[in-house]
């Protein structure tokens, strides 16, 4: 892919964006999912509704946020609601069409680990933890997972199951009472994995231009199944790259801008009783 006129992140972002139907309500995470959602909104899906877990509903950032709660998200939102409402009235209530997730590890049934690598009590790597992921995984009508594919991250067995995909497959997720539909696609830097309709095991369903099945298999630490028909994905259109790069450029600019705060030069703080 090194010869391609786009980066691995760019083709992943564009591919993720293309999964989003106009008008869908998305629960957006920071980073690539946020870029993908905003790319979609600025191209084929202008009526996409973006909800960030900070409580910004229907936000339309002009600059990609660095954090889930940047001021830009509040400023451009339809409304800002308390965080408990986002999880109760929107996510648990079943109002989210698409939830985005990433993780440090994924297994063949789309279960995710974002908690620890190694033993929980004395981990090799302590990861950030659950955040909103377990409930997004459980309640969103469908989940899109975005992760770079490598044998270290696409593993036969998770060190910790933070969020559920299809559990052990073959309907076990539904049997366990998860209301949402589970991961419909795992978008990697090789292509797309999708669950097999019966076994619910992830299988290679699509590849980017110039990527081989063998390469995708080599990047997966379990024996990756391949769909009967593997779709050949189109690379990013010039228009898509242009919008995405403009978003990124604005963002880099905005994030580098120095912050200045007016601070009183001296004098005691006010005190009193009320």
């Amino acid at each position: 892919m090194s010869a391609a006129p786009w980066s691995g992140d760019e083709i992943m972002t564009v591919t993720a964006a293309r999964q989003l139907a106009d008008g869908a309500v998305c629960f957006v995470g920071i980073g690539l999912p946020s870029a993908a959602c905003n790319l979609a909104r600025q191209t084929h899906a202008p009526r996409l509704v973006l909800i960030y877990e900070s409580g910004t509903v229907g936000t339309r950032p002009r600059v990609l946020p660095l954090s889930i709660g940047d001021g830009e998200l509040a400023q451009t939102a339809t409304c800002v609601v308390p965080l408990p409402e986002v999880f109760a009235h929107y996510l648990q209530r079943g109002r989210i069409d698409v939830g985005f997730l990433g993780a440090a590890q994924i297994d063949r049934f789309g279960n995710l680990n974002s908690t620890v690598i190694g033993d929980y009590e004395r981990p090799r790597v302590r990861l950030p933890g659950a955040g909103g992921a377990p409930e997004i995984a459980a309640h969103a009508r469908q989940v899109l997972i975005v992760m770079k594919q490598s044998p270290r991250s696409f593993v036969p067995r998770l060190d910790f199951r933070t969020s559920v995909g299809y559990l052990t497959g073959a309907g076990s997720r539904r049997a366990a009472g998860c209301p949402g539909g589970g991961p419909r696609a795992v978008i990697t830097d090789f292509g797309i994995l999708r669950p097999h309709p019966e076994t619910e095991e992830l299988q290679l369903a699509a590849l980017y231009p110039g990527v081989s099945v063998a390469a995708a298999r080599a990047a997966t630490a379990w024996p990756l199944q391949v769909a009967a028909q593997v779709e050949m994905l189109a690379g990013p259109e010039p228009h898509e790259l242009e919008v995405l790069r403009a978003l990124d450029a604005h963002t880099r600019q905005a994030h580098a801008r120095p912050v200045r705060i007016a601070v009183p030069h001296s004098g005691p703080s006010p005190r009193g009783l009320s």
């Binding site: 709660g69 004395r122 302590r126 659950a130 009472g177």
Partner: protein
């Protein structure tokens, strides 16, 4: 409600061994208050927050905390909290016991605390390993009407909740504008509520439905301009994203971390001084 200089507010209300929630969801994180706790060398705190970030990295790294209740610990959009990792992975500067939840669980736990409920309930979903942790904090319950499986989460009632907000008015009421996260719930759940604010005004210029904490639920407030930096105060200053990115390098090694803390936090008299030392003061 008492209006005090921050150092006095912390000296009066925060004690070793307490559970303390410095809340804020990316927005309005009470950095100045946290730094003052570091300056005053509190020990054995049980820190609580949905999203521990740079501030808790600093407090853990400086040895203030022995326990952490949280749902996501990271430097948003940047990466790991190296000091929190060092504590968990190598007990440096001391061991840190984790009480780990999901965002949704912490949100209802604060709501329960704010409502004097001993616990909250949410829908149970498919099993995750969070339920298998050494201190499993949630329990199963069944809806007495429908038989639906529910999950009970114990209430959170911090000994002290500390918030940063935009304004205090002449009566001592507190105004929060913009992203609120679980600040209101954490405030109402607290046994003692401390607030730092950007400024004091005669009267808020805000609608009836604005997020306001009445003076009489606030224990103590301090006027600390820039008190949320490097996070932000909507309407006052933006998030210092460049600093948040730079923190990754500062905090990666113990040496560079301690040097930075000595110079900027322990070496500063107060928050204005710290902002000047960072070249942020205008």
């Amino acid at each position: 409600m008492q209006l005090l200089p921050l150092a006095e507010a912390i000296a009066t209300h925060v004690r070793d061994g307490q559970s303390v929630a410095l809340e804020g969801f990316t927005h309005l994180i009470p950095f100045a208050a946290g730094h003052e706790i570091i300056r005053q060398r509190r020990r054995g705190l049980h820190l609580i927050r949905m999203t521990p970030d740079i501030l808790y990295d600093q407090m853990v790294g400086m040895g203030c905390a022995s326990q952490l209740t949280f749902s996501w610990a990271g430097n948003p959009g940047v990466g790991s909290l190296h000091r929190v990792r060092d504590a968990v992975e190598h007990d440096w500067p001391g061991p840190l016991t984790l009480h780990e939840f999901t965002h949704a669980q912490m949100a209802v736990a604060y709501q329960a605390g704010a409502s004097a409920m001993p616990c909250a309930i949410m829908r149970a979903h498919a099993p995750t390993d969070l339920a298998l942790l050494p201190h499993p904090a949630t329990r199963q319950l069944t809806c007495p009407f429908s038989g639906v499986a529910l999950e009970a989460v114990p209430a959170l009632n911090p000994d002290v909740t500390i918030l940063h907000a935009q304004q205090i008015d002449a009566e001592g009421n507190i105004l929060i504008r913009g992203i609120v996260g679980a600040a209101k719930e954490a405030a109402m759940a607290a046994r003692c509520l401390l607030v730092t604010v950007e400024e004091q005004v005669e009267r808020f210029d805000a609608g009836m439905n604005a997020v306001v904490l009445p003076a009489w639920v606030v224990s103590c407030a301090s006027v600390v301009p820039g008190g949320a930096h490097p996070s932000y105060a909507h309407g006052y200053y933006p998030r210092d994203n460049a600093f948040c990115q730079a923190w990754d390098d500062i905090a990666r090694e113990r040496e560079s971390f301690l040097g930075w803390m000595r110079r900027h936090v322990q070496g500063s008299r107060d928050h204005a001084d710290l902002l000047r030392s960072l070249g942020v003061a205008a």
